[in-house]
Symmetry: C2
Subunit: 352 residues, 2 copies
DNA sequence: TTGAAAGCGGTACCAC
DNA sequence: GTGGTACCGCTTTCAA
């Protein structure tokens, strides 16, 4: 075993070979399950491996193979429950496929998302799953990443790259329709984005309008509340402003759960009962909404499928890299409207 | 530029050298900011780098350097807000130090935590941050990881390895004392662990008892509620059982925020007012507690410091590896009791 | 069935 | 200042 001045260095294939009394190539054959190795040698080698405590050097293997078994996942931030849960799923599914995940945070800023695409620190990954907020589809134009890429969430069509997205519009429409079906007529929309015509906000807004149209109702601009950053604080503040302004309403559709939970607080803070006075629906099905009181009706966007499909697609890209004959694909898994107490599902308030 | 049968392969140092008309070693010198390079060559080389679109191959560099710039982070799961926020901080701080983070999930199971220690898939990391739930300190005994290791959260003393932990006992004591200072006398403790004498639960329990003792109050075993897994559902169920059993109480100290938020729901579901009827304190300062209604009083365990110290310690271990003269260290940053509405801070309910 | 030798793409020591 | 050369540890033809 090689001893360096700095101390004991890790045993290598050669060390194992020496102990086993074979060539180091044979050791490699054994470890890689090559078909032709006599059982006797195999046993002998494995014993030697055990004895010297051999651990393969992945850096060397990666260099040789040109693949690392690592994929990158770039999300705005893990503090946002949706992305944390997405990362959870991705890591879990990747692990099933013997992939390991390097997580990067972009803050949702375009600059850093671009950097994630090019970042040399990430170049040891075989491919990248990117959940962008600030990117436009021009940014992705010509193989921007220099390696396999799958975009999550944002439907930056017509993209030259694979997308795993959501049925933003259809789901928003279903959510709004659910409120209308309860007889609500003045549905506040929380989270519109001003100058955006193709992003997530625009699509969900379109779904909202479609549902109103289906019901023969006009869009009341006074009910459409723009909020750029979809977090709880903004949700609470915006809801507060709307309420304090005396806007009449009987329902709220928030573009994500964080906004919805912020809004819920503001509603309750002002003594309004949910869902009696105001029914509330969110989007994302983040865990926090399940044990609030009332629990939150929301859209489950198919997070599990998104993660599974994304990892699978990326892996196909990685394997296909040499040939490159896969066209860009866009997939949006089925969503599910999860009806809970905030729109009247079995509210079980006792006493009171 | 090397062309393989499979297509264009990435340009290497040699390709750059050829274009620049220098030896590939010179290119390496330029890229590594070696002191002695003439400005002219440097410019020439950089132009060539640009021209051929050279991107360094990290696998090769890692092999040569024996370091990858990647650290591992193993947590139970990112779906738990506390760990997601911890991961957020760790990734952020690591990025500041030009480290990148590979995230692994253990489910909090001892087997998988052990696997994370040994996992060859992780062997391309320079070191590991491990947040264990199931490990005992014997598991960590003799350099179990085979590489630098820092343990987060659990104080598995007397550990032979670095720990960054929390002031579990002192913080729990402060939290309980806060409730007692409000005049509450029957404080339910949510989340005790049965057969555990040294883990997090035991330490927080000790803090709870200490605060009671400080106030000259006895421990009422009827108020100590065991819950093994600290999630919202369990918190809600346990709280529900206690309430339905008619146990008298005027406060709850939950061992973490998830339990507290679950409990909050059960309290409200039964028409009890928080904090009027029951005051509530959690532990962790997870983001979800800030915009519930009422917002949640909790312990901020110094998460930011924990992340920063952990990354720094790990980095020291990595750099020190050859010498190995650092003794194991244990650090527990300052905590902070964050008083919010669930213990009566400026409840601003309007109307109602 | 086993072994020798040639790299994978860099870095670093040490001449020139 | 610049460049030769060895080598990090492993995989993979190709011989033996």
């Amino acid at each position: 075993m090689a001893i360096t001045p700095e101390g004991r260095s890790a045993p290598t294939l050669r060390d194992v070979a020496e102990v086993a009394g074979v060539s180091f190539k044979t050791v490699s054959n054994v470890l890689n399950d090559h078909p032709q190795v006599r059982e006797a040698t195999r046993v002998k080698v494995l014993a030697a491996v055990e004895q010297v405590g051999y651990r393969p050097n992945l850096a060397a293997r990666n260099l040789r193979l040109g693949r690392s078994g690592v994929i990158g996942l770039a999300v705005p931030e893990l503090s946002q429950a949706f992305f944390a849960q997405l990362a959870d799923e991705v890591i879990r599914i990747a692990a099933e496929q013997d992939l390991v995940v390097l997580v990067e945070q972009t803050g949702g800023e375009r600059e850093r998302e671009l950097e994630a695409l090019r970042n040399p620190r990430l170049s040891l990954t075989d491919g990248l799953l990117l959940a962008p907020l600030g990117l436009t589809h021009e940014d992705l134009a010509p193989d921007a990443a220099g390696r396999p890429l799958v975009v999550l969430g944002e439907p930056l069509f017509p993209g030259p790259v694979d997308h795993v997205t959501m049925q933003h519009e259809a789901a928003a429409r279903a959510a709004t329709a659910h409120l209308l079906a309860l007889g609500r007529r003045r549905v506040v929309l929380l989270g519109a984005h001003a100058a955006e015509d193709t992003g997530v906000a625009a699509l969900r807004y379109a779904g909202y309008r479609a549902a109103l149209a289906d019901a023969g109702l006009p869009v009341d601009d006074g009910l459409v509340v723009p909020i750029e950053t979809w977090d709880r604080q903004r949700g609470a503040e915006a809801m507060g402003r709307v309420l304090d302004a005396g806007v009449r309403m009987d329902a709220v559709f928030a573009m994500n759960d964080d906004l919805a939970l912020g809004a819920l607080r503001s509603l309750q803070e002002r003594g309004l009962a949910v869902p009696r006075d105001v029914a509330l629906v969110g989007f994302d099905d983040v865990a926090d909404g399940r044990y609030t009181f009332p629990s939150l009706t929301t859209v489950e966007p198919g997070r599990h499928d998104i993660a599974r499909i994304a990892v699978t697609m990326l892996r196909e890209r990685i394997d296909d890299r040499p040939r490159g004959d896969l066209g860009p694909r866009v997939v949006a898994p089925d969503f599910r409207l999860v009806v809970r107490e905030s729109t009247g599902a079995e509210v079980r308030a006792r006493r009171a």
